[in-house]
């Protein structure tokens, strides 16, 4: 089971990667909501992030305080090497399945 991640975890990981240097709580939340067109709560998001961090797939650090957010610092996230390996695992699994099921999955009529 090690190395396999859930669908929402994959989504969060990919979003953190796509946001690069700007990956922090609200940014990740809004990006996911915009792309997947679904509402997610801060509680759910941060729970997942905490789990990912526990698994060592991402790491985080506190940024510098700014004038926004009442001077409170943001916590930024970054994917780790293990995170990348986990994403590759998922992708390979999917790619294999895609390859196997090419004919039936074609959208062409």
């Amino acid at each position: 089971m090690k190395g396999y991640i859930g669908e929402f975890e994959e989504l969060v990981l990919l979003t953190i990667t796509s946001l690069g240097d700007h990956a922090y709580g609200v940014a990740v939340k809004e990006d996911i909501e915009k792309r997947s067109n679904r509402r997610i709560s801060l509680g759910a998001l941060h729970s997942t992030i905490t789990r990912l961090e526990e698994k060592g797939l991402i790491k985080s650090w506190l940024g510098e305080p700014t004038r926004e957010r009442g001077g409170r610092r943001k916590r930024f996230f970054e994917i780790t090497y293990q995170g990348k390996v986990a994403l590759h695992h998922v992708k390979e699994l999917r790619d294999d399945l895609w390859k196997l099921s090419k004919a039936t999955l074609s959208l062409a009529k």
Binding site: Y24, G25, V26, K29, S41, L42, G43, A44, H46, S47, I49, T50, R51, E53, E54, G56, K59, S60, W61, L62, E68, R69, G70, R72, R73, K74, R75
Partner: protein, 885 residues
Amino acid sequence: MKRQPTPSPPRLATKLFEWYCGNASVEDLRGDLEELFYSNLESGSFKRAQLKYWQQVLSLLPSYALKKRKRRPGFNPASRSPSPILTHGMVHHYLIVAFRNLRRNGTNSFINITGLSISLACCMLLLLYTKDETTYDRFHEKKDELYQLTVNRVEQSGNGKKFAMAAMIQGPSFKREIPEIEEYVRVRNQQLTIKKANDIFIETVSWVDGNFFSVFTFPLIAGNPKTVLSDIHSIVLSEETARNYFGSIDVMGHTLDIEVDGRFETFSVSGIARNCPQNSSIKFSMVLPFHYMDEVHPDNGWHWVSFPTYFLLQSKANVLAVSSKMARVYETQAKQEIDEMKIMGYGDKFIWGLQPFPTMHLNTEFEGTPEASDPIYAYILSGIALFILIIACINFINLTVAQSIKRGKEIGIRKVIGGQRTQLIGQFLGESFTLCFVAFVLAILLAQSTLPFFNDLANKKLSLSYLLDWKLVTGIIGLLIVTGFAAGFYPALVLSGFNPVTALYNRATSSGKNYLAQSLVVIQFAFAAFLIISTLFIYSQFNFLTKMDLGYNDRNLIEITVGKAIMSKPFSHLLKTGFSNVPGVEVVAPRNVGRFSGPTHANEREIMAVYEHVDEDYLPALQIPLAAGRNFSKDFPADSIHSVMVNESFVKEAGWTDPVGKTVDFMNIPGWGNKKITVVGVVKDYHFESLKEKIKPEVFTYEPKLPLGKFLVRINRFDIPKTLKSLEDTYRKVLPYDPFQYSFKDELNYNAYRTEARWKLIITISSILTIFISCIGLFGLTALSTERRTKEIGIRKILGASATQIVALISQDFVRLILIGFVIATPLVWFAIHAWLQSFAYRVNMELWIFAFAGLLAMLVALLTIGVQALKSALTNPVNSLRSE
């Protein structure tokens, strides 16, 4: 019109969130919440944004993210390792900081550690002393049933003299008549001559009853404790003695020749005993059976008490009942002797009593208790040590607090970056414990290295390993912990309570009036003044005692005591002639050995006078002048029977104005003749005894019946060793087997004040120590006060203050405190010295100038201490002190 308030997240939700999170680190979450709120506010209404805020808060509360962060307060997802309060890194850091602090305040650290270790070392030595004193004789298994026989000899005048001595008869008589007494042990020490092959030794031997080794707990290495002394010619040696004489302890059956009553008898070793513990009142090197004495010198006298007797009572025997039984036994058995004494004019009453064996050591009430010591020594020494320890402790507290004021910034920073109060307390307590530990190790080294000297001072054979029993080890560790705690706790509490803002922005300063420091200085200097004044008085009294004109010349005067001559008159004559012929000898004056007094009638008064039996050479030999009349002389053959001399005190007591030619009714004893004798001369008063005693009325007699056993030999000061050698040769010719024992009279006189000499040393050392510790405390406080006032001093100098003015400025505060201390000490020391001087019949006056001198001395030392620091700061270039902030 009301002003629209800036829209902000609902306060209740924020409060709830904060409360729920506690001290978990959720700064980023709160940031996220707030950011979302404001972005919602832009896209929708205030109400809606508030609602969404609530939703987010509620979604976070039960979430795993928060649970995780709460579980570990101080959880910092950025670092993967948890951060407990004490990590290896922190300890390392604390050590570095502590060490840097020590180095930065080199002098103060030195003061702290030195003060503490000196006082701890003092305490250890004193603990050793007290332990030894209080455990005396506790090692005997039957200690609770053991008693020492005491006697109170009450004179007709009502004055009592108490002895812990008895004659030979009390032990057996009391045991026979009183059922509660199970055993008696007599212990009689005697110096005897011992011959082994051709070597002659002088040894103190103990004649003891056969049950000695079963009543007392003195284990034997060889021999049966019950039978070891049953043979009349048996001898038990201590381990050490056996080694000294035979070089081994395997010497059962070996023999030694011991001279008893002028002839050598052979004793064979029947047992070897372990060396006596240091804390034993009874110490022996050679033990001989007492029943030898019983056979050689049977003595049924009750009143010539000279050595101790011990009783083993039945357990739970009533001591008072036994005492009253002893009184009855004495009255019936000694009746004849009591009556005879009454006829001779001795009406002293003898009251027998019992003293518990384990308590006899710390009791000087009874003369004759071996090694008895005054508990006041232990009290005073412990008091001094305790005081020194307290001073050093308070010094430590004071200096640490004052020093740490400079660490305000450090504390501020620590608090800002999240140092918990417990961490700060831990840090400071840790520092003080570490210092304590270092001081403790130094103290052990110090105590060990000063132990020989201390043993000398205390007249004991102690070693530090003696402290190794669980009670004392716990005691010492307890002392260390209490010291560390007392020294570190206050700073730890005060410092960690600093508000970081105050600590960082306003320079934290100790409040202007530091009562703790001030009262400390006062107490220290009161104590120091007390000891300095005591020292000066003890010195002047001691000087007085040793330098006072004794009324005779004790220089180049040798005292030789001859045991044989007491017994036999021809010996003393032979010796006197022999000694007189030795070149270098000027005069030889024989006299009686002891010093006894009895009732003498003169001018119809009864005078208790000391009898001195001398010959015509006594006064010239001692160079004592006559006040009136003449000396005894060979030209007046009748002198021996019909003449006496008296001293001035006698004349005064008799109330005579013209004493020569008056008669005294001398020696009112049957057999001596109840005779009236004429006074031919009056001797000027001289101090034959120590100056603690008043000069007593004395009667000098030429009476030939009394024995002469002591020779006072006046020699000239040229080639004293040769004279001594010739004296010894002369002596050997007369008495080949007796030890030649002599002493110089001036040394004897000096030795009479051994206790005073010891006190002098003790008080001198303690006052030096106290002054030293007080001064290092003062030194530290001055250093801190000048440092705090660096800028002030700089500005004063710029405005034209001279170095003298600045030194005066810094000194004046301390001078006032020292004066207060001195004022407190003066009346106390006055009482103490007054009480002490009462024990001397002849004493110095309590001169005021000594007080003034002591005050000046203390002040001088203190001013020197302060002055060094003050001058240093006064001479600093103000540019340096003012340049940097």
